[in-house]
């Protein structure tokens, strides 16, 4: 080991951070080279003085200033998790307007279902296994969607999760809620657009239409806004009319968004 290499390793040697072989090389060099020995001694003194400088603790304000935002973030996460669930709860509790002959149709369907049940029972074992498999898959997808949206993984991960959810044939409530949450809260436009695209397949569910409608006033990106309006038109969501009228007359809104809202009102 030469003088230069020895000196470059002196800090680690003083801190006993070197591997045995290198430490032995430094020790041997210092033993033989008076100049390096003198340098090492002066370094040791300086490092000792530097380490001995007392580090007094910060004031209590720091704790308060750090813990406050943590608590606020926890609250935000809880609120976001509850958001889509609240839409579903509101949809479930909303009274349905039924046609007068609907009760008879339902009764007839019930009778048919009972007859069909007899045939199905024969193949029950195989079907149950398939349903269990499907539920397990849907359950996994549901967890993925919830985690990726609420726990803010990378954009790529979140996008992948939304695409996985989109490819699920019959997703459960959690997958749908997760997609609505993505549409409402995800910071990436790409993820929000893909979430909306995934929701097209489930537009027959009232909660999906209600979710998209609830997301519309939150949305700031014109591209996503126009896509949402297209969604509401495609799904014939007449309940969107008041909100679309409001958007069409909003002077702060993007011109394309206003035009799109006007066209949607005509079509609906």
């Amino acid at each position: 080991m030469n003088c230069q290499s020895c000196r470059e390793h002196m800090i680690e040697f003083a801190d006993a951070k070197l591997d045995v072989e290198t430490a032995e090389g430094v020790r041997a060099h210092i033993g033989a080279c008076e100049e390096c020995r003198s340098e090492f001694e002066s370094f040791t003194l300086t490092l000792g003085a530097l380490d001995a400088v007392p580090a007094s603790p910060p004031t209590h304000r720091l704790r308060a200033r750090v813990m406050g935002p943590i608590e606020a973030e926890k609250l935000t996460l809880r609120n976001q998790a509850a958001w889509a669930s609240s839409i579903r709860a509101a949809e479930v509790s909303r009274p349905r307007r039924r046609l007068p002959w609907m009760a008879y149709v339902l009764q007839a369907a019930g009778v048919c279902a009972l007859v069909a049940l007899g045939f199905i029972l024969g193949e029950r074992t195989a079907t149950q296994r398939q349903i269990a498999d499907l539920r397990a898959r849907v359950d996994t997808v549901g967890q993925l969607v919830e985690q990726s949206v609420l726990q803010k993984r990378s954009t790529g991960d979140r996008l992948e999760t939304v695409l996985t959810a989109a490819s699920t044939g019959k997703p459960d409530e959690r997958v749908i809620d997760g997609l609505i949450n993505s549409l409402a809260f995800d910071p990436s436009v790409n993820v929000r657009l893909n979430a909306l695209s995934a929701l097209y397949g489930h537009a027959d569910q009232e909660v999906v239409r209600a979710g998209v409608l609830a997301c519309l006033p939150r949305e700031a990106n014109p591209l996503v806004q126009v896509s949402m309006i297209d969604f509401l038109v495609a799904t014939k969501a007449r309940e969107a009319s008041p909100q679309l009228r409001k958007l069409a007359s909003d002077e702060k809104a993007n011109a394309d968004v206003r035009d799109s809202a006007r066209r949607a009102i005509d079509l609906l």
Binding site: E8, M67, K74
Partner: protein, 213 residues
């Protein structure tokens, strides 16, 4: 047959599901890395424990780096806030302390950039409580106290030199990690630290020989 001994799991705060789930699997305290992974996965309670473990050394490092307790406290706060904000960028590989000091470095750079364009607000109570630690305005009245001398010598180093030297003094960081934080090779980090130490030594020894003012 005697009854099987009961496994005692320490009581944990309610709502801390991640820790409860892992308390059975881990007898030893969770590592920083495990805590940060939990934070990334949404268990924000673990952030409190990381704060308890690291705010002292981080504040000490920043105090020496900036020479200003108020600035060190402000930067420490921003570091923890950024950890929270960018928690989803924390990866499985790597080490928590490297990541934390990497963030600290960026926050300190931002601080210096802002400070160069705006006056720094100083809390008067800090000046009263820690007057002995200030090493700018009252240097002329300094004593020969070793700590004060060393602080003054440290203040005379370039910021880059001070940074590499102070990072190398953190016991939890190897030179490879210091190099990673500084975004340079290990060899370059060693050379820079050596030069910084030599400069500090020269200032320190020179000041020791200076007559009392």
């Amino acid at each position: 047959m005697p009854p099987a001994p009961e496994i005692l799991v320490p009581a944990l705060p309610s709502g801390n599901k991640w820790r409860q789930r892992h308390a059975v699997e881990h007898e030893a305290p969770l590592s920083d890395h495990e805590l940060m992974l939990a934070v990334r996965d949404g268990e924000l309670d673990c952030m409190g424990e990381l704060f308890e473990r690291h705010h002292g050394p981080l504040f000490g490092y920043l105090t020496k780096l900036t020479g200003n307790r108020t600035a060190a406290e402000d930067i420490s706060q921003i570091v923890f806030q950024r950890m929270l904000k960018y928690r989803h960028t924390y990866r499985n590989e790597g080490k928590f302390t490297s990541w934390m000091y990497h963030l600290a470095r960026r926050c300190a750079t931002d601080h210096y950039r802002k400070a160069s364009s705006a006056p720094i607000a100083v809390d008067p109570s800090d000046l009263a409580a820690h007057a002995d630690e200030a090493h700018s305005a009252d240097e002329s009245a300094s004593s020969r106290d070793d700590h004060a001398l060393l602080q003054r010598a440290l203040g005379r180093l370039d910021r880059d030199d001070r940074e590499v030297l102070l990072l190398s003094r953190l016991q939890e960081l190897s030179f490879a990690e210091v190099a990673e934080i500084l975004e340079c090779s290990v060899g370059a980090a060693r050379v820079r630290a050596h030069r910084a130490l030599r400069t500090l030594r020269d200032h320190y020894f020179k000041m020791q020989k200076e007559p009392l003012t």
